[in-house]
């Protein structure tokens, strides 16, 4: 039986056309973190590579930061907001469950009536969003897709938790994905390992805030209710990241049909400098490959980390338009996504 439905008419390929980032105004040095935990600047730097991070102020909302980053990405891509016909926002720190923040951002940008939705894939969120965007462009459901990774992780950080207080930061990174004549985004190697879904997680769900359940909430020293925060089993996650993610990164290179020698740039999720160093070693990246080390001044911004690092590398000249870059995100779920892209 022949289908009555016309075959889709998408673009032959997709590429990243532009990138933009937003970093909150307030810069928070390790000294500020040390007011709440027993630690040292030396320890934080040696175990994570982080010296400073940005924390968002009251006006730097998830939507506001996204609009700033998206505006830059739109300009960088040389398109107008009206040309965007899909908006994908990846975040775990937007506190309104409905409506999606994507609709608010699309409206604020003047994007007309694009498809708009949020996704939840933690630190792999950028790669998940990019993969969806590529699919939409190639399949023909959209011509220009805005993908934003955005977090206000400071809102979900327990400042007294030694394992996480120094790690997280806030910010937004955006890209425009559009049509291309040759492949600009390689095959994605992605997946999840749900057997490890408790190794990074929110302490309690919002449903526990129902009056009847209040007794189930964690309390602080003074008996006050603790706001939900992200906790993690640091060593378990570190081990998974250094061992399993190098393999996934290699698979992404293989799938794109290139070797480490063909790379110009490596942009891993900025989770921990030690994870980055370990992956560089395991992947045997040659000297000429420029490695994103944005974590030093940005901390771990989850879904925002890869586009933020990408923007900075392009802005500082560490990377250039047309470079071939390996990107890999990984985090709570545990989830991961790796692919090879051509930089805008």
């Amino acid at each position: 039986m022949t289908s009555k439905i016309k075959p889709p008419k998408g673009a032959p390929y997709a590429r990243i056309m532009g990138v933009g980032g937003y970093r909150p105004v307030q810069v928070v040095p390790n000294e500020e973190i040390l007011k709440h935990i027993d630690s040292s600047d030396e320890w934080i730097r040696s175990r994570s590579g982080i010296a400073t991070r940005h924390w968002a102020g009251p006006d730097e909302t998830v939507a506001a930061m996204s609009v700033e980053a998206a505006g830059k990405a739109i300009a960088d891509a040389g398109i107008t907001a009206e040309q965007i016909d899909a908006v994908i926002i990846s975040t775990v720190s937007h506190f309104m469950q409905t409506p999606s923040v994507a609709t608010e951002i699309a409206h604020a940008l003047g994007a007309g009536k694009p498809a708009a939705f949020d996704i939840s894939a933690a630190c792999a969120g950028f790669g998940y969003g990019l993969t969806l965007a590529k699919g939409l462009v190639v399949e023909g459901s959209a011509s220009h897709v805005l993908v934003v990774g955005v977090e206000r992780l400071s809102d979900l950080t327990d400042m007294t938790d030694r394992a996480t207080a120094f790690l997280f930061g806030d910010g937004a990174g955006a890209v425009i994905v559009g049509p291309a004549e040759e492949p600009g985004i390689g095959p994605t190697i992605w997946g999840s390992e749900g057997d490890k879904n408790t190794t990074i997680k929110q302490t309690v769900g919002w449903d526990k805030f129902r009056v009847g359940d209040l007794g189930l909430l964690p309390l602080d020293e003074d008996g006050g209710i603790k706001f939900p925060a992200i906790t993690q089993e640091g060593q378990t996650v570190f081990r998974w990241a250094v061992y399993e993610m190098a393999k996934v990164a290699q698979q992404a290179l293989d799938a794109a049909g290139i070797t480490a020698d063909d790379l110009d740039v490596f942009i891993p999720h900025q989770a921990n400098m030690r994870i980055i160093d370990s992956m560089v070693k395991t992947l045997k990246l040659p000297e000429h490959v420029e490695v994103a080390r944005d974590i030093e001044t940005t901390g771990n911004t989850s879904a925002a980390s890869i586009p933020l690092a990408m923007e900075r590398m392009l802005a500082t000249g560490q990377a250039k338009s047309g470079d071939t870059a390996l990107v890999i995100g990984f985090g709570a779920g545990l989830v991961y996504a790796a692919t090879v892209v051509t930089l805008p």
Binding site: S46, Q235, F238, R239, Y243, R274
Partner: protein, 82 residues
């Protein structure tokens, strides 16, 4: 084939050298990873991952903290290698 104690120590020495840059001859049975060999908690995770590959053993997270010295790791691997 299962590795001997000497082979395990020599293998660990190479791993520690690779990860922490410690001269291989410094890696002796009585040496503590953190106190004597400058292998911090995260480098230790890398050492364990490399040792698992090399000696075909599984070293679960919970056991890692009991491996204080090169001797501890060597006995563990001797006992658990397949």
């Amino acid at each position: 084939m299962a590795a001997t104690q000497e082979e395990i120590v020599a293998g660990l020495a190479e791993i520690v050298n690779e990860i922490a840059g410690i001269p291989v001859e410094d890696v002796q049975l009585d040496k503590s990873f953190t106190d004597d060999l400058d292998v911090d908690s995260l480098s230790m995770v890398e050492v364990v991952v490399a040792a698992e590959e090399r000696f075909d053993v599984k070293i679960p997270d919970d056991d890692v903290k009991n491996l204080k010295t090169v001797g501890d790791a060597t006995s563990y691997i001797l006992k658990h290698q397949s």
